[in-house]
């Protein structure tokens, strides 16, 4: 079981000074894409080159010495962070996409949404068995998309070292069960909490329940 990495200190832990600016640069848009959802919008952070650079560096600092040969990014906001991280690590970048976007031969993994299902695709041959891979997305909410991403990569024999997101819901702080499998913890994430905890209830949480 991998440790959950917390860069935001709690109870006197070490706080990465870059996190403050990153948190401040992310805006929360209420009731998007539907009522009750407080959407964490990273586009405002992308307008601040130094802050965006720091966000990328936080990931790169962590993975630099982990022999990562591939970075998989989840469409579409994972495409904003994944490639700069991959370039800095000298790793491949692998887009994980919604159905019918990737040309040529793909493998597909379904996952459950609040209402209905969706699926994620990856090119056959993008990753070789045994390759060490990290998965990047801007935010983890239910973990459904990341589970699908992990499954895609493991089905082709890759070694998913970690999933890393800039923003995560508090419930991921202590690790969490994925897909009800008790032996498969959340593989670890770097995250910051970018929303006001007073706004969170079971029904009304920060992040997105539907893929936008």
């Amino acid at each position: 079981m991998k440790e959950v990495v917390m860069l935001e200190g709690e109870n006197g832990g070490v706080v990465d000074p870059r996190l403050q600016a990153i948190k401040a640069a992310i805006r929360v848009v209420p009731h998007f894409p539907k009522p009750g959802i407080m959407f964490n919008d990273i586009t405002t952070m992308l307008l601040r080159p130094k802050v965006f650079k720091d966000a990328v560096e936080i990931f790169v600092d962590r993975y630099r010495d982990m022999s990562i040969s591939a970075v998989a990014g989840v469409e579409a906001r994972g495409f904003i962070f994944g490639p700069p991280i991959a370039l800095a690590l000298g790793a491949k970048f692998i887009p994980l996409r919604k159905p019918k976007k990737l040309p040529g031969e793909v493998i597909s993994e379904s996952y459950v949404l609040e209402y209905g299902t969706d699926s994620l695709e990856m090119h056959v041959g993008a990753v070789q068995p045994g390759e060490r891979v990290i998965i990047i997305d801007d935010l983890v909410a239910t973990g459904g998309t990341l589970c699908a991403a992990i499954n895609l990569l493991e089905r082709v024999g890759a070694d998913v070292v970690e999933c890393a997101c800039l923003i995560g819901l508090p419930k991921f702080k202590g690790g969490c069960w994925l897909n009800g499998k008790p032996d498969k913890f959340w593989l670890g994430n770097i995250y910051i909490q970018a929303c006001d905890p007073r706004l969170q209830t079971d029904m009304n949480y920060c992040g997105q329940a539907v893929d936008v």
Binding site: R27, T43, L46, F52, K53, R77, F79, P95, R97, K101
Partner: protein
């Protein structure tokens, strides 16, 4: 374009490796290209110390947006940008992986110019020379 149209220019030596690693997949639809610009745009922005602004299909960007329609082979589509992403007078570069008819890039330029930015150039990794005749407006 890095592949110089001026034949007297020496070709950038990196182009051969790039061209060799792009594969052509026959008979695949060209829909949904918003996301591939996200692959190239951010690294370029980071390297030159510029803002990165995602231009997206409708209803993907939260908050206030401006919207620009453009014509497809059948029907129309729409590109959106956040209000306030650019300031009047900003110098902007539009990046995409591929240019076909130029319709999307025109919409992108219009969005930026409506917000008062100056579009310095549109840059794409790949062009489709057979569609060049369809360029409505191509500024460089």
């Amino acid at each position: 374009m890095a592949c110089g149209e001026d034949k007297e220019q020496k070709q950038d030596p990196r182009i051969e490796g790039i061209a060799a690693s792009i594969r052509v997949v026959p008979d695949f639809p060209k829909k949904g290209i918003e996301a591939r610009g996200f692959i190239f745009g951010p690294p370029i922005a980071l390297a030159i110390g510029a803002k990165f602004i995602p231009l997206r299909k409708p209803r993907k960007l939260p908050g206030e947006v401006i919207s620009e329609k453009y014509v497809l082979e059948y029907g129309t589509d729409c590109l959106e940008m956040h209000v306030g992403a650019v300031q009047p007078g900003d110098h902007a570069l539009v990046v995409d992986d591929l240019i076909a008819t130029g319709g999307t890039l025109c919409a992108a330029m219009n969005l930026l110019e409506r917000a008062g930015a100056e579009v310095v150039e549109c840059a794409c990794v790949i062009e489709l020379p057979e569609l060049k005749v369809h360029y409505i407006r191509y500024s460089s």
